[in-house]
Amino acid sequence: MSEGIGARVLRREDKRFITGSGKYTDDVKNDRQCYAAFVRSPHAHARVKGIDKSAAEAMAGVEGVFDGHQLTGDGIGNIICGWAVTSKDGSPMNMGAWSALATEFVRYVGDAVAVVIADSPANAKTAAEAVEVDYEVLAAVVAPDKTLESGAPQIHPEAPGNLIYDWEIGEKDATEAAIAGAAYVCEMDITNNRVAPNPMEPRSAVATFDPSEDHYTLYTTSQNPHVARLVLSAFYQVAPEHKLRVIAPDVGGGFGAKIYIYPEEIVCLWASMKTKRSVKWTSDRTEAFLTDAHGRDHISTAKMGFDANNKIVGFQVDTIANLGAYMSLFSSSVPTYLYATLLSGQYNIANIHANVRAVYTNTTPVDAYRGAGRPEACFLIERMMETAARELGVDPGELRRANFVQEFPHQTPVIMAYDSGDFEANLDAAKAASDWDGFEARRSEAASRGKLRGIGMSSYIEACGIAPSAAVGSLGAGVGLWESAEVRVNPVGTIEVLTGSHAHGQGHETTFAQVITDRFGIPHDNVQIVHGDTDKVQFGMGTYGSRSGAVGMSAIVKALDKVEAKAKKIAAHLLEADEGDIVIENGEVKVAGTDKTLGWHEVCLGAYTAHNLPEGMEPGLKEGAFYDPSNFTFPAGCYICEVEVDPDTGTTEIVQFVASDDFGTIINPMIVEGQVHGGIAQGVGQAMLEQAVYDDSGQLLTGSYMDYTMPRADDLPSYTVSHETTVCPGNPLGIKGCGEAGAIGSPPAVINAITNAIGNNDLSMPATPSKVWAALQASSMKQAAE
């Protein structure tokens, strides 16, 4: 069976995970290791009047107790946001200072003010409770609209009125004029609920300072270890880059939350220098809820105008995005360049305008969570398309079809240039797979059982593989978004690939190796993928935004091109043939049309013995490449959800979920389907179960799995997943990316289905049984009144 591109190769990673041999950060245990416990603010907003460490310092096993004054005194820099967004008046964003340990003010519950280093986790936690912090409690604000009201508590002196930026995109006047002249206008207020990412492996860091070498080693739960090293050294001055090794071993899920560099990693590195001990911190789940960057949290008002032929003529959106108490690493880009640029959806819309105000509140920082801005855009568009179809009395699929972009490339009014797609193919495939046309019969049958059955769809598009670097740089990004690869061919013909991407569940070790197998025809087992260690791998940008296939594998392909070219030169020399006649296939290097053949390993060995190389050629067979994409990629698809609601309880069961996606070329369908399953589950979770809830004083009420509803197996259905492929023209393998699609496309499909079932369109996420029941009662009362 083929092990190349398109094959369902079983994952090589699995052997270690199913046997308990995986190595995660918390599994690391060094000699003389100590443990960090953080003293965290119990208040959402307070002035720190004093910290008394004396009792804690005297406790058993305590190696040191440190506060923010000591941290800043040692020159450790503030945590930064790496994407500068400019307000529409030309002013830079208002970024408040964020110290890894707060000094004068705390701004959310969980803000760290001190750290205890002790010889056991229990002793560290016990001593942390003995650190006395004198707080002057201040008024707090948690809601994104309330924080902009006059008289709201001022959170950062740098951001007057708690406004970080007031940004816009598109043509305001033209859009307003188009909507004013529309035959029908759909208007909606839409909230995108705040959720907590919850990778199952809590964040963890193990930092070791070696005084003899002035060298630091950090094991950490990171999606991008090189970016972590760069930021830790260049911006936080924890250690010089060449004296800091960052290793992200097996990473137990990320979903965005493990992109950022958090206070805890900074403090562990610094504390390892202070104590000359290895320092470990592992988050417990409540700390994860309090400190892992949350996702979403938008409130929006939107208007979509249609002409008399049901064509969209204008779309205007006004959004307030809650970024929490501090600006996390990429937080500013999420509600701007990752959100408003996708507001054209799959549709041909001549006029779009979006205004986005990003605000501070006394809540956990908000940053990219699986989909990052694109789910918020998709939810707006697809809730409005469904609502418009209902109000216009037309089939929701046909309203979408009438507005689909049909020709590519397609330039939207909001930056993006869609390069490929076949949106009708996805729509038709999803309708067929869900037996859309047979729905009314199923609705009647459900009614006979006392159940309300509903169906809803969502036609999503997203942008992945954010690039090119020069373009994102011009939009404010502080980094380039290319990827690197090095292909090392060993003398015996086996291959190591060092990639700047890093997996946290995506199966790169399997998928990436398939590309090499496909190229040279050597066994999959003869390829090793190396990632996640800055001492082993050249600088790379890491894994997020569904970029590892489209960008990471493209870098590998570029390096393979160079390896192949050199191998062919060597073979042509050895076989006394023309270089252009050499082909490499099935592990052999041949002269086309002849019986002259060398084994792949013979050519590789020849490169290293260097006994008979072409004149002037260097020995060896190892090539590196950096790949900077020419454009974003645009995965798209159509999701259809069918539900049954119990009218007595409001309980909703998803009875069918169909996904038809276009991801471009698929390397391993088994892994891609798994990505879709997991993405849908997270989207369903947001739509029906999950919400990070704060009370008015800023206390997080959902700080554990007893309070925050994680989707369980019996909350979810099995999924019907299929693909309609148009190849991405922008990268050598034709890949679009698949990691986030499920989380982007599913929430509107779910809410469209439930609102269809209950006959009331006024329903917010998460659609819990109590909310659905209340909406159903409201709808019944309205009908009775009529």
Binding site: R11, T19, S21, D26, M200, G253, G505, G674, R712, L716
Partner: protein
């Protein structure tokens, strides 16, 4: 302090631990069997499931001292030979992604078969997985894995 002796994965082990030591801490920190994971503080996630005297137990919810004299099996000791059929089924059905919840899932799945038999329907498996959380797979392939593994046990 408590002195403990128990059988873990077929071998007798002993140690002196603080009374407050949890079974999962004893397994991970004292025995250095790190396949058993901790994913929450409140006994919901199931990443720490081991077998104690043949029954699935959340090892974050049991003191090490309570397991004194018991027969404990962790993910490292579940195979009789290369792989347990349930381990193989998780690999063959792509029942895992990041792998963090996987040891607990496999230990719970084996216990499920021990209690419910080999012929498990989807609804039963989903209901029985109430105490195990996965964030990666959406459970679709975990359910398939357990059905497959059960039939081969």
């Amino acid at each position: 302090m408590s002195s403990l002796t128990m059988t873990v994965n077929g071998s007798e082990v002993s140690g002196d631990v603080e009374d407050r030591t949890l079974l999962v801490e004893f397994i991970r920190e004292h025995l250095r069997l790190t396949g058993t994971h901790v994913g929450c503080d409140t006994s919901q996630c199931g990443a720490c499931v081991v077998h104690v005297d043949g029954k699935a137990v959340k090892s974050c919810t049991m003191l090490a001292a309570q397991a004194n004299g018991c027969d404990v099996t962790t993910i490292e000791g579940v195979a009789n030979g290369d792989l347990h059929p349930m381990q193989t089924a998780f690999k063959e059905n792509h029942g895992l992604q990041c792998g963090f919840c996987t040891p607990g899932m496999i230990m719970s799945a084996i216990d499920m078969v021990n209690r419910k038999g080999k012929d498990l329907d989807e609804a039963t498996i989903r209901s029985e997985l109430e105490g195990n959380i996965c964030r990666c797979t959406g459970y679709h392939n975990i359910v398939k894995s357990i059905q497959d593994g059960a039939s081969k046990m």
